[in-house]
Every structure is written in structure tokens, then in C-alpha cells.
């Protein structure tokens, strides 16, 4: 499903190139739950962004769902993000001006669903995540765990094939973290959603079925 071949990412700092990722090749099959680990600055987030089509590698090839996406137009990439990819962030990144309901609805708007389709999908998710009672609250009125729950609901609203999660529990205390990780596991197992997460926690990494370790921009394991 995801194939990254000999990819590099660097930034030009003065005359020298500072490599963030070098010679990365990896394969992730549909239905996997992969954890990317590594110390700070090892390029985990950049890798995740490249996989999520938010950044482009400077060199190398990237096949997403069998399609070479290395040099796609911004429009095509947006299209893929819209239909195939869901994102979960450490800082949740909910839109402060929108209610829980509207936050979950937003990706559906971009997908072009009509209002009744949106309504039933959002209702379904609210129900599933047990947050029906909070649907009219704004993010600032929620706890961190609750916000992340909404973040995940929003990520899977458009029925993506894959979810990229960037330290999804990094801002949460352990009890909430467990809840979130259990949720990911459930999604992976029951709904066959591919999940790629970046994490610092060995414990959280164990929820997945494979760990990719990075160090100084290289895959070490």
C-alpha cells in the first residue's frame, strides 16, 4: 500500500545540505499498524508528513496505493488527502471556532457529501465515540483526551484507507493515552484501517504490529 524507495529529504543551510532523511525505503501493507520511533530530531515527523503527502521528498520515489505520487500536482495530492488519508496530531489541531459536530463534519464538506449524508455519518461517529452529548461544545470546553477523540473521529470521518498519527498521545496523561491507543487498535482490527503512528513511548508502540526505528534520518531497524 505504501512504498517509499530510496528517499531523501534535506534542507539547504548555507552551502551545505542538512539531511533530515536519507536513503529511506519502506513498505507498509494495507491493514498494518506501524509505529515509527526514534529520538527527537531523527526525522520521524518529516517521514510521516512525506507519507501523508504534506511534504515531498527531494529524491526518491513514493508509491501510494500503487500510484507514483512523487510529482503529483497540489490538486491531485489534495484529492488523495481528502479521500484516502486521515491525520491525527499531538496537539489535536481542532478548529477552535467550530463545534465538535462541525469539526467532524469539515472533511466531509471538502469531500463534497450532501447534507443528509454528512448528518448521518457525523451522527454515526458521535455515537461510536460516545460523544453525542458534547457535539455542540467548542474544543476549548473539552479535556485533552476528549479533544483527541474528536480528532480521531474527524480523521476517520471520510473513511480513509490510512491514518497517520503524529504522537497522538503526547499531550495526554496515561489513562487517556490508553483509551486512545485502544481505539486505534480497534479501528485497525475491526475496520481494517491502516495506521502509521509516530511515538516516543515504547509502550504505545506495542499496540502496533511493527516498529520502524529512525536515527539521524536513517532507518536503523
Amino acid at each position: 500500500m505504501i512504498q517509499l524507495k530510496k528517499s531523501y529529504k534535506y534542507y539547504n543551510t548555507g552551502s551545505r545540505k542538512a539531511y533530515v532523511l536519507s536513503d529511506i525505503s519502506l513498505d507498509i501493507a494495507a491493514g498494518e499498524f506501524v509505529s515509527i520511533m526514534g529520538p527527537s530530531g531523527s526525522g520521524k515527523s518529516t517521514l510521516l508528513h512525506i507519507l501523508g503527502l504534506l511534504e515531498e521528498p527531494n529524491d526518491g520515489e513514493y508509491l501510494f496505493l500503487g500510484e507514483n505520487v512523487s510529482h503529483l500536482t497540489e490538486k491531485k495530492r489534495t484529492e488523495l488527502r481528502r479521500n484516502q488519508i486521515g491525520f491525527v496530531f499531538q496537539a489535536y489541531h481542532l478548529i477552535d471556532e467550530l463545534t465538535v459536530y462541525e469539526n467532524i463534519e469539515t472533511p466531509l464538506l471538502y469531500k463534497g457529501l450532501n447534507s443528509s449524508e454528512r448528518k448521518s455519518r457525523v451522527a454515526e461517529l458521535l455515537d461510536k465515540f460516545n460523544i453525542v452529548g458534547r457535539k455542540d461544545l467548542f474544543p476549548s470546553q473539552l479535556s485533552g483526551g476528549q479533544q483527541q477523540l474528536v480528532g480521531i473521529a474527524r480523521a476517520i470521518a471520510g473513511n480513509p484507507k490510512v491514518i497517520f498519527a503524529d504522537e497522538p498521545t503526547g499531550n495526554l496523561h496515561s489513562e487517556q493515552a490508553t483509551e486512545i491507543m485502544e481505539l486505534f487498535k480497534k479501528l485497525n482490527e475491526q475496520e481494517k484501517v491502516t495506521i502509521v503512528q509516530v511515538t516516543h513511548s515504547e509502550h504505545n508502540a506495542t499496540y502496533g504490529n511493527r516498529i520502524i526505528r529512525l536515527k539521524d534520518g536513517l532507518v536503523v531497524q
Partner: protein
């Protein structure tokens, strides 16, 4: 769609301060722009109601005789017929003659005089005025027929049938039969007569004299025919018809006349241009000036731009607040286009709310503006102005929103989510440029306003060569007839009265106006058309005019009936010997070569008998007292004096009411257009500066917010409150100073050009610019310092902790 507006609404609520600044700015901008749009539309709509408006032209007589310029809208009686006869491209001609009018008599009752004109029978086939009764084509075919407005018909005849009724004027015996009733002439017409009498049978109208003129002449051209082509052919007509008469009366051929550097001929003026180019002498009504249409249009556009700039600046300055949202939305699959739509929704929502405020503002401001401009503009509930207002709102939404929408939607999602975006610096250059532009306009307007006021002040205090203070004018004392002199003698007995003169010629305000063809004896080729005043012996002392040489008219000299007093300009133009006293000049009274020789007995110092727009031209005074009183008084009790004057007036049993005017007020009225424009300009200047300052205040708020951390660090390092607030204010001051530097030459040039329309004007002094700059700087400091000081006073630890 609904979603876009919902988020837009929440964003407006979230940033209340900025929404209010933007709303205030935009609604002020929209209101000013819309009011000016109404004003300009009204100005441009003059005479457009005529169905043949695009085909009608007016004939002007233009001549330059011994460098005296003549530009008259009323021409000779046979002009119309000659043009119709010689040029088939002219499908119709019609003439109008303005008459003073007098009281109207009907059924034993007297009514006030009305604006009255004689017209050719086909007048209403050329000008489109709806007939309520009678027939436009045939109403004025018979002699002594008259068409009146519905209002007058109702006033004289009540509910009775007006057609066939006869009315009379108090100054004549002719009975006029009402043959038509029309609607009132629309306000946007260049004349507003209420009565149109038939010219049929009038001997003067049938005259073939090319030496008198009194007839406003209009031509209807073939549809699509360019009037310039006809204009080019008119010299031939001058040759053919006027040539022989000139040769007879001046004793020289037209060619000779022309070789002496003189010129004479006709020009054509499109009907729709008359109102905005009303620069001929003796216009039917004072017109307007296209210059002010341009100036006000420019102000309207600038005002709108300045309001839009506020929105642009505040949106881009506050971009960092929105950056995260942009990033999240992009990650969730939003393309740039969806985001552009979303941000445009915000600017549109804002501009539509501003539109609602504007509607209220316009309703409140229109009466004030009407008062200032002398117009009668209104929006009511009709469709067209509403549509225009809507279009204005859409324009503003787009103008203000398009750049921020592109700018905000272009953010890189990764950068924004990591908080790496320095969005505010990215657009800093543009913002600074826009602030400079706003202040460039504001400062230019301040300079402009000051200079207009200075010139108006100059006009007020200018030494005119006569004294306009405490000078009472009784315009209709002609009604006293023989009692005019009696009244005068009685007035002189009153201790409050200094002097009285009988003359209908006033140096300011509505006055009798006469031109005479005159040349110095023996020098016929120096013939010129000069202004003639009929005065009495007391005219010069009453008006306080100074003699330069010779003496005033006097009852001691019986020969004074063939004496003239001229002004210095005339003495110079005639190239008279010495001071000119004792020289003889010849006055050609009419086309029959009826000449009379007069001796110059005195020369008066030049006085301003025309507006200060024009230089003082040659003037000649003859002793011929009649038709008007001017009274020089010296009293604090003017009201009491007026009461006793009125008492006497009533005793003379005239039909006319006792009317009076003060010369200084008449003088001021001459410049009413400039005064109005000056006042409107100053209001717009204040509003522009206000909106620009609003924007500055918003920007200062953002700057203070964004630099909170920096300010915190500086304070920890030991910066004082003054140092910090100076640092924040300095940047804005710099922009205002740059604006000053750009504004000064532009404003100087613009005002210099404006002043050129005055023959007598102030010179622009440097301190005006210093004052404008000073005002702008003080305003800037005042606006910015609130935020700067607030930021500087903040507890530094607070701002650092939150990072």
C-alpha cells in the same frame, strides 16, 4: 455555502475589536462613496431626461475683441433661422428668451412673479416636458399663449379648468391665454421656468439684427451626427449673415476686423454638457463645474480604498491567528480554492453587515449632505439605488477580501501546524505600503482643505476697491417709479443712513448687466465691448470707490449727461493720453450706427465688479440713474432701520414687497459653490483621516500583541516604558513621514492647479505643509501610543510565561 458564512460569522464575533474597526471603516467608506455616487450621478444626469438629449446642442457666441473675451450663451435673434436654413443636418431649431417677469394678475388677484421665458412654438418638441393638458406641438402656435406648470395652474385656478383662462402681468396689458399645463421641469435641468410664453408675433424675436443678442438657441441634429462637423461650417454663416452688418456698423469688413487679431464666431455645446461646463456669461442658472465631479469621484474611490486597506492590513497582520486553521483544513483535504472561498465569505459577510450600517448612515447623512451641496438626493426604497448599494457592497467585499484570501490560503500546512510561520513579516512590506498610501491620501486632503479655506478667507478679506460692509441693496425699488427719488431723499434724512445711490448695477450678486461697443475717438479699430454701469452722482461715494483721477459726476455740471467715468483698466485698454481725463470716446449705441461721443471726466481705481475668478476688465459709467437703490448705513440698529424703511415703502403703495439684501452677503453668495465644496471637502478629509487612523489603531494592536514576547525580554533587560512605547510608535511614524514626503508635491500641484481658476489668489505657503504633517504625526502618535503604552506597561513575566 452556509458553512462558510457560519464560520465567517464566528470569526467576526471572535475578533470583536477588529470586526468593529473594519465595520466602522467599511460602512463609512461605503456611505461616503455611495453619497458621492448619488451626487455624481445627479450631476451627470442633467438634461438627460430629454428624449433627444444626445442630439441637442446649444449655440454659443464667442469673440475676442481687442483682447476682451466674450463667451455668451444667448445669441442673436436670426441665428436659429440662419442655421436651420443653411444646414440640412439640423432638423429643428428652437429659442428661449429669459424675461424678468412681474406679478401675475388673475381674477382681480395678484400673485408673486414666477420664472418666465418666451419660447418658440416648437420648444416642447425639442425639450421633453410632459403635458398634462393641451398639446406640446400646438400649444404655443398662436401669439399671446402661455404654458404653465401644474403647480401654478392649481395656484391660480384651483380646481377649475385652466385651459382657455387668461392671465395678465402687472407690467403690461397683454392677456395671455393658457393653452397647456405641464409637469414641473425636472430638478436636473439647466433651466426651471414655470411659465413659457409664445414668442410668436414678438417683433424682437423676428428681428434680423446680428448686433443684439438675447436668445438662447438650441439645435436638434440628425441622430448620430457629430456636432463638431457643423461647428466647423459655422464661420461661413458668420461671413454670409453677420459680415455685412458688421461692415456697416463698424466701418470695416470682417476680414479687416480679423486681421487686427480679433475673432468672432459661434461654437456649439452639447445639451448634456451645459450644466457641468456653465462658463458662459448670463447663464440661465448657475451651473456646476466638472472639476468638482472629478475631485469628488476621486475622493469616493480613495475613501473606499482606504477602508478596504484597513481590512487587508488587519487580515494579513492577524494571519498568524488563522494560520493553524488553514493548516488543519488543508490537511483534512481542503484545496486552496475552498479556503479562498471561505475567506472571501468573511469579507463578504463583513461588507454586507457594513452595508446595513451604511444604509442607516446614508439615510442620516443625506439631509446634511443635501444641505451642504444644495441638492435633493434621496434613496428611498426604490430598486436602482438599492441595486447600486448592493453592487458597491460586493465590490468592497471583493476588493477587501481577495488579497487576504489568497495570502491566507497559500500557507504551507506543515509550517503553520508547527507554528513556524512568520506570516506577519511576510506581508509587512505590503502593509507598510498600504499604510503609506492611506496617509498619503489623508495628508493630501488635509493640505487641500487648508488651502481651500485660506483662499475662501482671502476672498472674504480681499480689498475689493469698494466697501461691501453696511451696504443695503433694494433690488425692486424700480417699482416705486417716480417715488424712487422721493424715497431716496427721505432716507437721506435718517441719521442712520450715510448715503444713497440710485443704480441697478451691483458689483456682486444679481445685477443689471450691459455691454457697450466703445472706441476712443478717432481710433475705430480699437473698438471693444466693455461693461457699462448706469449710475448717479452718489454711486462712487456710496460704494466707497476711490477716484484715481478727475472728478465724480456732479449736479453742478449740466454737461455730465455726456460724460463718462472709466476705470483704470479701461484707460489702459484705450491707451488714453495721460491719466485719460478729458479724452473723448465714442459709444456705438446700436446697429444703426447711432454713435455718441462722451468725454472722460474721471477715472476710478479698479474695483472688483466681477468675481475673483476673473481679472478686472474695462468698465464705463454713465449718468443715468434708475431702477435700484443702494443704501450705505452706519448703525448697529439695522433691524430698526429696516422697519422704518419698510414702513415708508408700504406708504408708496407699490405691488412689490419690500425686499432688501446686504451687499456682503450677495458677495459671499458668489462663491457659494467654492464654499460648499470646501465644506464637503473638509468633512471628507476628516472622515478619511478617521478611517485611516482606525486602521492604524488596529495595526498597532496587532504589533503590540505579536511583539509581546520581545517586549517582555526587553523589559527584563531593563528597557523603560518610554523606550518600549517609543520603539513601537516609531515604525508607524516613519510610514507617516514617508506619506508626507509623497503627499506634499502632489498636494501642492493639485492645489496650485485649483487656485489657477482664481484670477486673484493666495500663494501656497510652506507652513500649510508643516501644519498638515504636524496634524498627521500628532494623530498617529495619539492613535498608536495607546497600544504602545499598554504593551510597554505589561508585566514582562506574564508574556514570557505564556510562551
Amino acid at each position: 455555502m452556509k458553512n462558510y458564512f457560519k464560520t465567517a460569522w464566528r470569526n467576526l464575533l471572535k475578533n470583536k475589536a477588529f470586526s468593529i474597526i473594519n465595520l466602522l471603516g467599511l460602512s463609512t467608506g461605503i456611505s461616503v462613496c455611495f453619497i458621492i455616487m448619488l451626487f455624481v450621478q445627479d450631476e451627470l444626469s442633467y438634461d438627460g431626461f430629454n428624449t433627444k438629449a444626445d442630439q441637442i446642442v446649444r449655440v454659443l457666441f464667442k469673440a475676442s475683441i481687442n483682447s476682451g473675451k466674450i463667451n455668451e450663451a444667448s445669441v442673436m435673434p436670426p441665428t436659429a433661422a440662419a442655421i436651420k436654413n443653411d444646414y440640412p443636418e439640423v432638423t429643428a431649431v428652437t429659442r428661449l428668451r429669459n424675461t424678468g417677469g412681474s406679478k401675475i394678475l388673475y381674477n382681480g388677484k395678484k400673485y408673486n412673479k414666477e420664472l418666465f421665458a418666451f419660447v418658440d412654438p416648437n420648444f416642447f418638441q425639442v425639450f421633453t416636458v410632459p403635458f398634462l393638458k393641451g398639446d406640446a406641438a400646438s400649444a404655443l402656435l398662436e401669439p399671446n399663449t402661455i404654458v404653465i406648470t401644474q403647480m401654478l395652474a392649481h395656484k391660480y385656478f384651483g380646481d377649475e379648468e385652466p385651459i382657455g383662462k387668461t392671465i395678465q402681468f402687472s407690467n403690461g396689458n397683454t392677456l395671455y391665454k393658457v393653452t397647456g399645463v405641464i409637469e414641473a421641469i425636472p430638478s436636473n435641468a439647466h433651466f426651471h421656468f414655470n411659465m413659457f410664453g409664445s414668442m410668436t408675433g414678438d417683433s424682437e424675436a423676428a428681428s434680423d439684427s446680428w448686433m443684439t443678442s438675447n436668445f438662447f438657441t438650441y439645435l436638434v441634429l440628425q441622430d448620430g451626427y457629430d456636432y463638431k462637423n457643423l461647428e466647423a461650417k459655422l464661420p461661413a454663416m458668420v461671413e454670409k449673415y453677420m459680415g455685412p452688418q458688421i461692415a456697416r456698423s463698424m466701418g470695416m469688413s470682417l476680414t479687416q476686423f480679423r486681421t487686427k487679431g480679433n475673432s468672432l464666431g459661434f461654437a456649439l455645446q452639447p445639451l448634456k454638457d451645459i450644466h457641468l461646463h456653465a462658463d458662459s456669461t448670463a447663464e440661465l442658472e448657475p451651473g456646476s463645474d466638472i472639476k468638482y465631479v472629478y475631485i469628488f469621484s476621486a475622493i469616493a474611490i480613495f475613501m473606499l480604498l482606504i477602508a478596504c486597506i484597513n481590512f487587508i492590513n488587519l487580515s494579513t497582520a492577524g494571519a498568524s491567528k488563522r494560520a493553524k486553521e488553514v493548516g488543519v483544513r488543508k490537511v483534512m483535504g481542503s484545496g486552496q480554492f475552498e479556503l479562498i472561498k471561505q475567506f472571501l465569505a468573511e469579507s463578504f459577510l463583513l461588507s454586507f453587515i457594513a452595508l446595513l450600517f451604511s444604509y442607516v448612515m446614508i439615510q442620516l447623512a443625506l439631509p446634511v449632505f443635501n444641505d451642504l451641496s444644495g441638492k435633493n438626493l434621496h434613496i428611498g426604497y426604490s430598486f436602482q439605488p438599492m441595486l447600486q448599494l448592493l453592487i458597491l457592497g460586493i465590490t468592497v467585499g471583493l476588493l477587501a477580501g481577495i488579497y487576504p484570501a489568497f495570502f491566507l490560503s497559500s500557507f504551507n500546512p506543515i509550517a503553520t501546524l508547527k507554528g513556524r510561520l512568520s506570516a506577519s513579516t511576510k506581508s509587512l512590506g505590503l502593509r507598510s505600503g498600504l499604510v503609506v498610501f492611506q496617509f498619503f491620501i489623508s495628508i493630501s486632503l488635509i493640505v487641500g482643505t487648508i488651502i481651500v479655506y485660506q483662499q475662501m478667507n482671502y476672498i472674504q478679506s480681499k480689498k475689493l476697491g469698494y466697501s461691501k460692509e453696511q451696504l443695503l441693496v433694494l433690488p425692486n425699488s424700480w417699482a416705486l417709479g417716480k417715488n424712487e427719488t422721493v424715497f431716496k431723499e427721505n432716507l437721506l434724512k435718517d441719521s442712520r443712513v450715510v448715503n444713497v445711490t440710485i443704480s441697478a448695477y451691483k458689483p456682486a450678486g444679481p445685477s443689471n448687466n450691459n455691454n457697450s461697443l466703445v472706441y476712443p475717438e478717432g481710433k475705430e479699430n480699437q473698438i471693444m465691448k466693455i461693461v457699462r454701469y448706469d449710475v448717479d452722482e452718489q454711486y462712487i461715494p456710496t460704494l466707497g470707490i476711490t477716484m484715481a483721477a478727475g472728478r465724480n459726476f456732479s449736479t453742478d455740471f449740466s454737461t455730465d449727461s455726456s460724460a463718462v467715468i472709466i476705470n483704470e483698466a479701461a484707460a489702459k485698454a484705450f491707451e488714453l493720453k495721460g491719466d485719460g481725463v478729458g479724452e473723448k470716446i465714442v459709444w456705438m449705441k446700436d446697429n444703426d450706427a447711432n454713435k455718441a461721443t462722451y468725454t472722460v471726466i474721471g477715472v476710478v481705481k479698479d474695483f472688483h465688479f466681477r468675481s475673483l475668478h476673473e481679472t478686472i476688465t474695462p468698465l464705463l459709467m454713465t449718468l443715468n440713474p434708475q431702477w435700484g437703490l443702494m443704501v450705505k448705513v452706519k448703525t448697529a440698529d439695522i433691524a430698526g432701520l429696516l422697519v422704518s424703511m419698510k414702513q415708508q415703502w408700504i406708504n408708496y403703495n407699490t405691488d412689490e414687497p419690500f425686499e432688501y439684501a446686504f451687499m456682503d452677503e450677495l458677495y459671499n453668495k458668489t462663491y457659494v459653490a467654492e464654499q460648499k465644496s470646501g465644506r464637503i471637502l473638509s468633512i471628507f478629509a476628516v472622515l478619511t483621516v478617521f478611517v485611516a487612523c482606525l486602521g492604524l489603531f488596529g495595526l498597532a494592536t496587532y504589533t503590540a500583541e505579536q511583539r509581546t514576547k520581545e517586549i517582555g525580554i526587553r523589559k527584563v533587560l531593563g528597557a523603560t516604558v518610554t523606550q518600549v512605547s517609543n520603539m513601537l510608535s516609531r515604525e508607524f511614524l516613519k510610514l507617516v513621514l514617508i506619506a508626507c514626503i509623497i503627499a506634499f508635491p502632489v498636494a501642492w500641484w493639485a492645489m496650485h492647479t485649483w487656485l489657477q481658476s482664481f484670477a486673484y489668489r493666495i500663494s501656497i505657503s510652506w507652513w500649510v505643509f508643516v501644519l498638515a504633517a504636524f496634524a498627521a504625526i500628532v494623530l498617529t502618535l495619539f492613535t498608536v501610543s495607546y497600544q504602545a503604552i499598554k504593551a510597554a506597561l505589561m508585566n514582562p513575566m506574564k508574556s514570557l510565561k505564556s510562551e
